[in-house]
């Protein structure tokens, strides 16, 4: 018996591990319905379950997905997709263009109550249908043949292929929804068209996926099983990883980076995420309606101290609102701190040693955020500004920001490799996501003009003009990019660092 036990353990290790990859996800998914999802940690799982018209390769580049190829009309308004003729759902049913028509109508149907339906607002009539003012069948999506899909846009949108990467653009199976109703998302009922299919879901325990035999590229998918284990606490995730219970974790405490680099260097995957962290001013509230005050506060901040001395994980400094990883865009140039000028500006605005500027800086609870905001407060103290810090949990923070209930606040935006995605934030009519209520007719005009322009180069020039305008007004202070902090077992091959932090399990292999 004594001999058998270790043997059994060894057998279990070899066999138990070879066919499964265990990934520590940053939390429990709220849903696996691609039209109802809301979180990045859900995108991670949905990306393995479904295949949109476009998809990402291992390096995060946009490549053909359910569509083999596509064409854009010269006015940029009509996109025609040719679907893979051999594409199948995980139950063997063919994936057709009418499945996509059904899916996109379901997404924008007000009854679906999709919180991210606006991702597809570039499609003709999508916004009107979603607001309940147009009929469902007026959506600009049609199926001329079984495997050809035509999408009409409201305005030219050269970044549409990228927009199709989100789960909101994934197809859902009409036949499974017809059979099971709202229960179609349960294991056993859910039918998907991606490399994997849902096998089991224990709430707060794990989500288990198994390989979809009908996937068009199934022969290249070598891992037959994936388990996503929700671990919200980064320290717990690290402990379980170190105990060998997980092959990958998607977050670890920033304070552990040094130790990990010394002891487990070949596990550490740290790289910048396509994102921008910034400070936003509430310009409706004095004295932040005064551009001199905003400029003074911006000039007092030394971003390099924040990234090199405080954060120390390799964050990229941001001088513009568009993250420096966004390709094909002329990025804003370095802006060095200027303490003397900052003081002069504050004096000109009426703030002196006896009458110092006092402000409240709001931020999202968390150790890392706290250290950054304390550093900023001390930089502001050097120009005579008295800062009180106020932190709240994420959902409260953004709820207050949307109601413009703040003076100066930390904010962040991430997602797309497209400058508009970030520059839209300062448009006067974008809604409450323009937290600071910045209004500039010139900025609005330039962005609107860009949005009507089909030619990419002209479009970028107009966008750049708008960004310069916004930065000159100091509506926001861009600070740095957020970091991706993962640990990947060196025996897992095919994990390629990319700024979107998307790693389809179909591209991973075990050594």
């Amino acid at each position: 018996m004594r001999v058998f036990l270790p043997l059994f353990a060894l057998w279990y290790c070899v066999n138990g591990l070879a066919d499964i990859i265990r990934i520590g996800n940053t939390g429990e998914p709220a849903t696996l319905d691609p039209h109802r999802y809301n979180l990045r940690l859900e995108e991670t799982i949905l990306n393995d379950l479904y295949l949109g018209l476009t998809t990402m390769d291992a390096a995060g580049n946009i490549v053909p997905g359910a569509a083999l190829s596509w064409e854009v009309s010269s006015d940029g308004l009509t996109w025609t997709f040719d679907l893979r003729p051999n594409a199948r759902w995980s139950d063997g049913e063919p994936v057709t263009a009418s499945d996509f028509v059904y899916s996109y109508r379901r997404l924008v149907n007000p009854e679906t109550a999709s919180s991210l339906a606006f991702f597809m607002y570039p499609i003709k009539n999508a916004e009107a249908i979603n607001s309940g003012t147009a009929a469902l069948n007026s959506l600009g999506v049609s199926a001329p043949t079984t495997h050809r899909l035509r999408i009409q846009l409201e305005k030219p949108f050269p970044f549409f292929a990228e927009r199709l990467l989100y789960p909101t653009a994934y197809p859902v199976p009409p036949h499974a929804i017809a059979t099971h109703g709202d229960d179609w998302v349960k294991p056993g009922n859910m039918v998907t068209n991606g490399a994997f299919v849902l096998a089991d879901w224990r709430p707060q325990g794990f989500v288990e996926l198994v390989k979809n035999q009908y996937f068009h590229d199934a022969s290249n998918v070598t891992l037959p099983k994936v388990r996503y284990i929700p671990i919200q606490n980064a320290t717990t995730a690290l402990n379980r990883y170190r105990a060998g219970e997980l092959d990958v974790i998607l977050d670890f405490p920033p304070g552990e980076l040094r130790w990990l680099r010394q002891h487990m260097a070949d596990h550490v995957r740290v790289s910048p995420l396509l994102s921008v962290m910034y400070l936003v001013f509430n310009v409706t509230e004095p004295p932040f309606d005064d551009p001199r005050v905003r400029k003074a506060l911006a000039l007092a901040i030394d971003r390099r101290i924040l990234t090199e001395k405080v954060l120390k994980s390799g964050e990229l400094v941001s001088y513009g609102l568009v993250p420096s990883m966004v390709a094909n865009y002329p990025h804003a140039t370095t802006q060095l701190p200027d303490i003397a000028l900052a003081r002069d500006l504050l004096t000109a605005a009426g703030f002196t040693q006896n009458n110092p500027l006092k402000l409240t800086l709001r931020y999202i609870s968390g150790d890392e955020n706290k250290r950054v905001q304390i550093a900023i407060a001390s930089m502001w103290r050097s120009v005579g500004v008295q800062t009180s810090l106020h932190h709240t949990e994420l959902s409260v923070h953004f709820a207050d920001l949307r109601q413009a209930n703040f003076q100066v606040a930390q904010a962040g935006w991430f997602g797309e490799n497209n400058p508009e995605h970030y520059l839209e934030l300062l448009m006067s009519d974008i809604g409450d996501v323009n937290y600071g209520r910045y209004v500039s007719p010139k900025y609005d005009r330039l962005i609107r003009q860009a949005k009507r322009t089909a030619d990419l180069e002209t479009r970028i020039t107009l966008l750049k003009g708008a960004e310069i305008e916004g930065l000159r007004d100091f509506a926001v202070i861009p600070l740095y990019s957020v970091m991706i902090r993962s640990l990947v077992d060196p025996r897992i091959l095919g994990w390629r660092t990319n700024p979107r932090n998307v790693h389809g399990v179909r591209y991973l292999h075990r050594k």
């Binding site: 919180s115 717990t236 949990e393 994420l394 959902s395």
Partner: protein, 311 residues
């Protein structure tokens, strides 16, 4: 007796109603809402969402709707865990919380009373002081601190036990120890004091002077009297262990009820928070009722009070 139990049951229902009402209005008064997140929601979409969960109705109407649902045993859909109802989530989490709670309770009771009795019988020796000191130390270390230390030593370092999850009995060992430590200490102190007092009771002195064996003296005469305070502490302790495992569940990533409670509160998942509060309240009330009942069975004086109060 039946009337006593009936009266306690009516009281329990009223208490439950008060708990539900307080929880309902408190969570609504908290800033933010279930659909606040990092990403913006256009007004049209927000309206769709609110309508589909009846959050656009007046608060009192929602309150009545919720009460009616609860009396039917329906705790509603989870606002955040959209693919599950609250009933499904509680059905998944409760057995795990109960399992670790019961295991920790039994472990604490067994180990705690053994230490306490042993220390009392060795009164004022080195062993007594050492064990009493250890017990005090146990009280001073909450699971939040003990849990990660246990993980680092026994899971990451020695690899004897897993660091988290709930796949096998082995997964429950470290969480049970972390959760029971303060209660071992409490039980040890209570049973030690109880034993010391019992050793001085007249009937024990009589039994001793009759020349009873030490074993018979302890098990037949000392322990029954000594364990009355232990029993009266057991009710609240069991309730606290069943409801208090949320920290341990977080540290060991156990998918129990406590995690839903914490996540629900952070996410403003109104129905989930209400559902878990309700389950905890029912557990605490049921355990208190049970202990009162047991107490009466063991101590005739309490039983006569029960009868008297129900007349």
């Amino acid at each position: 007796m039946a009337r006593f139990i009936f009266r306690r049951l009516v009281l329990a229902v009223v208490t439950l109603w008060l708990v539900i009402s307080a929880a309902f209005f408190l969570i609504r008064a908290a800033p933010g809402g279930p659909f606040d997140g990092e990403r913006r929601l256009p007004p049209a979409i927000e309206k769709n969402l609110l309508a589909s969960y009846h959050l656009d109705e007046p608060l009192l109407a929602q309150y009545w709707r919720y009460l009616r649902m609860v009396t039917r045993g329906d705790l509603g859909p989870s606002f955040k865990q959209k693919d599950f109802t609250v009933n499904e989530l509680i059905a998944a989490g409760l057995p795990i919380s109960l399992g670790i709670g019961i295991a920790a309770f039994l472990f604490a009771l067994l180990v705690g009373t053994s230490i306490g009795t042993f220390a009392a019988l060795q009164h004022n020796t080195f062993q007594d002081r050492f064990l009493s000191g250890l017990a005090t130390l146990g009280l001073a270390f909450p699971p939040l601190i003990v849990g990660p230390v246990l993980v680092l030593v026994f899971a990451v370092g020695l690899a004897w036990f897993p660091a988290g999850g709930h796949a096998s009995v082995k997964h429950y060992v470290l969480p049970t120890i972390a959760l029971s430590l303060p209660y071992i200490a409490a039980f040890a102190r209570l049973s030690r004091v109880g034993c010391l007092e019992a050793l001085d009771l007249p009937h024990v002195t009589t039994a001793r002077s009759k020349g009873l064996s030490r074993r018979r003296l302890v098990f037949h005469h000392v322990l029954p009297s000594a364990f009355v305070p232990v029993l009266s502490y057991s009710g609240p302790a069991a309730a606290a262990l069943l409801a208090g495992s949320m920290v341990v569940e977080e540290v060991f990533s156990l998918p129990g009820l406590g995690r839903y409670f914490v996540q629900g509160a952070i996410n403003r998942d109104y129905t989930l928070v209400m559902g878990t509060v309700l389950v905890y309240a029912v557990l605490v009330l049921a355990l208190n009722l049970l202990v009162d009942f047991l107490y009466g069975q063991l101590d005739p004086r309490v039983r006569s009070e029960m009868v008297a109060s129900s007349d």
